[in-house]
Symmetry: C2
Subunit: 345 residues, 2 copies
């Protein structure tokens, strides 16, 4: 199989690596930035650099990668050079505008939900997509053979191809990804204003956790907000309506608070797929090695830590380690922690 | 020094333990729940249980602990029995309503910013307040001698006493604690609605982190929202205004996104107090022991992990471990991780 990767940064480079290593594909690469192309060639991500996308005419699959705002042009260029039996896809994190604008039946939109935190082919990895959801947005006129080829390709990279209607995709991503980024920014701005530049009081790790993604990669995220303005706008309308409702009944929110606990459990139990998780909170001295000590004790017992959060106290001498383990393992894990003389709940 | 702790749950019990262990105080205890009082006596948190707060008449300091909605009554009871030279304080996480309603100059409001995740004297610890901000809300008519006694007491428990005007307290806590809880609930509700009960797609750990506090302890948090309705309402007004502004310019948010990054850095660099932190992202196989292995390697080199987050991929076979270490240690930590053959950025 011969494929072309047009845009060899983190995502394109990882696709190229995975296609070579896992599928034995021959990978031609191109990038608008000559330095990126040289780097991709140098690190062995691609078999051969192209001087222009036009050299991709005999590839079975052309994948366009790059910042969201560049994809419409990139896909048009790819379609212009692709053969009649080729499939063209992209990796953008918004889909509706691109899919609506691209009527060529050889194009099928795609979105691997993976790794937007770093960039550049230097961070590319063949296993970036292992187990990741990779959305595909076929339309009613999509050729079945091309869709099957793309599905097989994506699965071959280790990802989980998941078909979704393109507006539905943008609606879901607005809710589970783009909105959290907007609200993290808002939280940071409000705290900054309320404190007038003073130090945060010790609020445990919850503020840190809640704002983890605030301000992430401004160039990239501004494009995502812009491209998904319709769906994100609808989400914001709903948030505003909810906040106005909540604001009007701040004295009677117990049921609302309880519902959020149930909803979160349902969302994240589904996410882990291996059944419900239990949360262990361990109060520890904040010294090098303590986390290792805990993790080792659980590891030795074959108990996997699905998620972990460490919040230091203000003096950095103590902290709370929160560990999420399979609910069925919680009692055993708790006993192991307690054996170390640590307080666990 | 003889003190009375009125309400011996997690916070009151921890104050009692710390006062006995660190200050050598004699601690009388009382609780509206006889079982809680028996437990506090049984675990040695208090020297002596009282059958009524009335027995606290000869104590120098009376501390009222319990759910926020019970504190006004508790403080009035304490003031009714306290001697003329005694100081009465509380531990509520909202302050304005209580401080405004309590004109007795022997009362000084307090709020240790610590441990709302668990409850009950069984989880009490003498070091719960180590390094924690403990807000005190003196008024212009507060007796200097009583304030000095309370300040010394709080510092003696290991906390950092921090004077703040009571409305200012509620404004700050609304921004840095209560609002994040509300927005976490909103995020969960929106994702739940958008997905219609389906499994979350793999979005890394960011959604999990952002919603960590969603639905926390509904009984307790509903009271906090209600008690701090004024300040929280103002915060919500500001959020609504910001979201309406953002909604109107979804195509031009790059500068806004960049500002959030700066603001978060400023807030959290100040929080750690030990200088700026650096973030290392490590892609790892998700097997028991891998986190331990990493933490041990850093621990052996004397590099402390200030914060940590582990996000599994959808298949739970891989994950990204994010580690925060002192910026000055980042290069050394990165080299240690890379030596293990792991990809780090």
């Amino acid at each position: 199989m011969r494929i072309a990767v047009l845009g060899v940064g983190l995502i394109g480079g990882s696709v190229a690596l995975a296609a070579r290593e896992r599928l034995g594909a021959e990978v031609l690469g191109w990038d608008p930035d000559p330095k990126a192309l040289t780097a991709a060639t140098g690190c062995g991500a691609i078999d051969r650099p192209m001087t222009s996308p036009r050299e991709a005419g005999d590839c079975e699959l052309l994948l366009v990668a790059g910042p969201v705002a560049t994809l419409a042009t990139g896909v048009q260029e790819a379609l212009a050079v692709a053969g009649p039996g080729a499939v063209v896809t992209d990796v953008g994190s918004t889909k509706a505008a691109l899919v609506e604008a691209t009527t060529d039946p050889r194009f099928i939109g795609g979105h691997p939900v993976a790794g937007a935190e770093t960039s550049g082919v230097a961070h590319a990895r063949a296993d970036l997509f292992a187990g990741a959801t990779w959305y595909l947005t076929p339309r009613p006129d999509t050729d079945g053979e091309l869709y099957e080829r793309l599905h097989r390709f994506v699965a071959g990279l280790g990802a989980v191809p998941t078909a979704i209607e393109h507006h539905e995709h943008d609606r879901v991503l607005a809710a589970v990804s783009h909105l959290p980024h907007v609200l993290a920014n808002v939280l940071v701005a409000q705290a900054h204003a309320a404190l007038g530049g003073e130090a945060m009081p010790a609020t445990g790790g919850s503020f840190r956790d809640a704002t983890r993604v605030a301000g992430a990669n401004p160039g990239l995220w501004a494009q995502i907000y812009a491209e998904n303005a319709a769906a994100l706008g609808t989400q914001l309308d709903q948030v505003i309506a909810t906040l106005e409702d909540v604001r009007g009944r701040l004295g009677e929110l117990e049921a609302w608070q309880g519902r959020a606990a149930q909803q979160r459990r349902a969302l994240l139990e589904a996410e882990t797929q291996g059944g419900p998780l239990a949360e262990l909170r361990v109060f520890v001295p904040n010294r090098p090695g303590i986390v290792a000590d805990l993790a080792l004790a659980l590891g030795r017992a074959g108990i996997n830590i699905f998620d972990m959060s460490l919040a230091p106290t203000q003096d950095n001498r103590h902290g709370t380690v929160v560990l999420w383990v399979a609910a069925g393992e919680a009692a055993r894990a708790g006993a192991l922690v307690a054996e170390k003389g640590l307080s666990v709940t």
